[in-house]
Amino acid sequence: MENTQVKPKRLDSNSSGAREFLSKLSRGLMIPIAVLPIAGLFLGVGAGISNVLIAAGVTRELNPGAFVVGDVMASIGDVIFGNLPILFAVAVAIAFTEDSGVAGFSALIMWIVFNAFQANFIHEINDADGLITGYSILFFDNVPTSVVTSNSGITSLQTSAFGGLTIGFLTAAIYNKFHKMELPKVLGFFSGTRSVPIIAFLMAPIIACIFLITWPFFGVQLNNLGTVMAGMPAGTNSLMFGIIERALIPFGLHHAFYTPLWFTSVGGSVYDAQGQALAFGDQNIWFEFQTQGWSYDWIDYNQVQSIPDGSVMVEVNPIINNQGETVGYITAGEKPGMYMQGKYPFMIFGLPAAGAAMVMAAKKENREIAFSVIGAAAFTSFLTGITEPIEYTFLFLAPALYYGFHIWMAGISFWLMNLLGANLGMTFSGGIIDFALYGILADATGFGVQSWDVIIIGVPYAVIYFFVFYFYIKHFDIPTPGREPEGTVIAMKSKADYLASKQDGRKNNSSINVKKGIDPETGISLDRSERVKELLGYLGGFENLTSIDACITRLRISVVDKSLIDEVGLKSLGAMGVVYLGKNAVQVIYGAEADRFKVDLKDYKKHLGL
């Protein structure tokens, strides 16, 4: 049915096909996107509670009980983010198969097999202490640890939302192609929808192979990119960082990219006055300043000196305290926070403003519903710096907004923060909680991080994001929440609307269906149509059927009135028996054809708009 509806529209114009695709996607991703802000708040607030406790001097070793609430909240959020690819896979599979739960089920199977297959080819590389320094994957020898993750408890490639969507679309394609497949009678058990999870199971290893060959390659290249960037002048490294990091998020490869900059000497080193290295990587350096009690203003960027680091000489800026003593050195060009702080302006100001724009762009009658979904997502970004909920509401629907606007704004935010001389740190992400702890609190205690720069950049960002989003969505008619075409809005439509839309659909279709060998009266293939109509007659018509289902050999139905069932008629169609269970449940034993009858009856019913 669905194919015959889509195709003629595609012929009219490409854009309407694309539009149909988008609104389906929007509808499908609604649940994951609605659950993300909830998970985000749990995770962000949970992590926030722990961070505040640590800042207040409470330690896990001495007061484990104090962390319980934060940990429980964080874990509830974590499980959703950790399994987001599965939610995407299942949601997309359901959305693109006329709401078939079986497709969703199959997507989960495919995802599990996809990852379990990979696990066999991913081997740890350990150093002398038994720590994992990397992975060998097929012919890739030194894959960074951040390319590999634990997906549903299975050590496999970090493929993130991209992996989930790929699996979801593939499963939908398998379902649409095979769910009406008929096998020889002997294999009847595997006919119909039951073949879908099996085919998904068998296809998964092939997809896994493709990812095993390509994904580590990207991971290695991105890891190397950090080294190239470290030497770039005038804050352009911050600019590049911001752009690339945002661009990689949907693929999960951003971890491979930022990890060396945050945690290894690629992101700079800090030394004490004797030239002994104290910490490596942007985030570690930032916290080393806190530990040492050094203000970030003490770095003298105008003086460049050379000090020995092992066997090589490195260029450094001295760190000079208020008494004029040199207390330490830092890699020349490294400004603590340069790869972190750029997040604050667009996470606290930009994205929430984009959320406001999406709510304003929703149809008036849907604004309240749109607010309930987007409001929470925007608030999550503001509070915790978890941006997936708000980013995913527009990433898939309007990739141009994400890749044409958002990532560049993110880069510029990093760049400006660097040029203004700010030095904010972060542990979790760029929300108001981290801003308070590693911005305002750091300023208040004399570390000189210039937290006001976030506001200076953030306010114009809010304005720019709001207007760009508002006009883009309006102009290109993007189906963001609350803007879906009639009949697919979040709130359930009235029954009258539904019937009307179905009837329109029927009129449009009938002329096309005839050519394709489909009976315009029943909406199912001509060769089956007569038989199904006959069956329906013996069952007392759709008015008599309250539910239709089937297992291996039985058509399982519930009826209003048992006496309307014509047993002799059913047997004339090949039934081996009719079983009555209680007052309303009836099972007709048809052998392998039972499942086929179920699908046909359901199609017929749908066709009639019942």
């Binding site: 609604m30 649940i31 609605a34 659950v35 429980v72 874990s75 509830i76 499980v79 959703i80 950790g82 939610l87 299942v90 949601a91 359901i94 739960g101 079986v102 969703g104 089920f105 989960l108 199977i109 599990i112 097999v113 990852n115 379990a116 297959f117 066999n120 634990s150 549903s152 408890g153 299975i154 002997v186 009847g188 058990f189 595997f190 929808t193 039951r194 999870p197 099996i198 199971f201 309930s372 979904v373 359930m492 289902d549 297992c551 291996i552 050999t553 039985r554 399982r556 047997k571 081996m576 028996g577 079983v579 269970l581 209680g582 007052k583 309303n584 449940a585 034993i589 052998g591 392998a592």
Partner: protein, 433 residues
């Protein structure tokens, strides 16, 4: 008046219970239909495991097979929402609810490395026997039951209202509520259940397997056997296998597959069931009375020998050649596909006494095979299983005593032939068509 209305209500609730169970049975067909493929993959892995160099193929095959088996509770939760809810989002709600359920639980379970025991909510200290890793989280092993209950509750909620936000709120509450209940009450419940399962599996003298085969067939007319099968094949009801104190497989088929894929002797395991034993460097424990395969293999003599003989007896009662071929086709379908219904429905309603005898003989077949320590797995139910999961493991050096099936088969041919010859009449066939 009063009396009448109560009788009416009673009848109504009784019938809706039946409808409910029948629906539950049919909803489980989806994961059940996938399991044969997972089992086949694990089975094939043994061909590669023994040879150096290509053992990676074996690992791949068995790892993806076991990966599917390990998430069965989640698959159950989802498949139930598909059948029980008209809300198209219900499968996703089921998945999300299950994720919250395990995440919340896992936070209250800590491992104490000094005693090697797990601590639950601060007041249970338990061995790893009570736990399972699912989606990378260590949680109490609620097995298929947890998945079924969550699936049903979520279906109910999703049917009640359409609002996404409200449903998400409800499902978090459901998940947290169940997690609390499980953390507080599951360890003792699980303990009692285990004792009970062990008691039933350990009755001995083939009584447990006889009763299983008998009851299984008696449930067929109601379609409820599809509820029973996953419980004995993939839940603790069918037994538990521990290695070095860790649960590695639960349920008759899962245990069989684990033993086979890891080249662990079936016969050794049976000999030591109910006690710890040392084998190839590890300590094993298989619960009392478990003969891997015992809750499936009893169908083999019936399908391969019984039905064709019964079919032949029936053909002697009809004149028409076409009718004869209809009967024979139905009689050999189980042998080729493992699906017995087409044949059983030829007599199940018309000659109930014959069906009762069939159920008794099935029970007998189950009892004999388990007493003979035969261990053949039925995955998809083809006679191919006898070769793939009976003959081949024996040739690889892990005896399954598959030949017992062939040895007792003729007896079943005889019994079925006699019963059908005596009880099936020509007019019965006429009633059918």
């Amino acid at each position: 008046m009063q009396k009448d209305s109560t009788t009416l209500n009673y009848k109504k609730s009784n019938s809706s219970t039946k409808t409910f169970l029948s629906k539950l049975g049919s909803s489980l067909m989806l994961p059940i239909s996938l399991l044969p493929i997972a089992a086949l993959f694990i089975g094939f892995s043994s061909f590669f495991n023994t040879t150096e160099g290509i053992s990676v193929i074996g690992n791949v095959l068995s790892s993806i097979g076991f990966a599917v088996i390990s998430i069965l509770p989640i698959l159950f939760a989802i498949t139930i929402t598909i059948s029980f809810s008209k809300n198209k989002n219900a499968p996703l709600y089921g998945l999300i609810c299950y994720l919250f359920f395990i995440a919340f639980q896992s936070q209250f379970i800590t491992f104490d490395s000094t005693t090697s025991e797990y601590n639950v909510s601060g007041f249970f200290s338990l061995s790893s026997y009570y736990f399972v890793d699912i989606f990378g989280l260590t949680v109490l092993n609620t097995s298929l039951f947890g998945g079924i209950v969550i699936g049903l509750v979520i279906s109910y909620i999703a049917n009640k209202n359409d609002k996404v936000g409200l449903n998400l709120l409800y499902l978090i509450m459901v998940a947290v509520f169940f997690a609390f209940i499980v953390l507080l009450f599951w360890p003792p419940i699980y303990y009692v259940m285990e004792q009970w399962f062990n008691l039933v599996n350990g009755i001995g003298f083939g009584i447990n397997t006889f009763l299983y085969g008998f009851i299984n067939r008696l449930l067929v007319p109601f379609g409820l056997h599809s509820l029973l099968i996953p419980l004995v094949t993939y839940s603790p009801a069918g037994g538990t296998l521990l290695i070095n104190g860790d649960v590695v497989a639960q349920g008759d088929s899962a245990i069989w597959l684990y033993l086979y894929a890891n080249n662990i002797s079936f016969q050794e395991a049976i000999k030591h069931s109910g006690e710890s034993y040392f084998y190839l460097g590890d300590t094993y424990f298989l619960t009392e009375g478990v003969v891997p395969g015992q809750y499936q293999q009893g169908f083999l003599p019936i399908m391969i020998f019984g039905f064709p003989a019964a079919g032949y007896a029936m053909t002697t009662k009809v004149e028409n050649k076409k009718d004869k071929s209809i009967i024979m086709l139905a009689a050999i379908t189980p042998l080729l596909t493992g699906i017995t219904e087409p044949f059983e429905y030829l007599f199940i309603f018309i000659v109930p006494s014959l069906y009762f005898i069939h159920a008794l003989l099935t029970g007998l077949s189950f009892a004999i095979l388990s007493l003979a320590h035969t261990t053949v797995l039925i995955s998809s139910g083809w006679f191919v299983d006898l070769i793939l999961f009976g003959l081949i493991p024996s040739l690889q050096g892990n005896p399954t005593r598959w030949w017992v099936v062939l040895a007792i088969g003729p007896l079943f041919s005889f019994a079925y032939y006699i019963s059908f010859k005596m009880l099936f009449k020509e007019e019965h066939f006429k009633q059918l068509y």
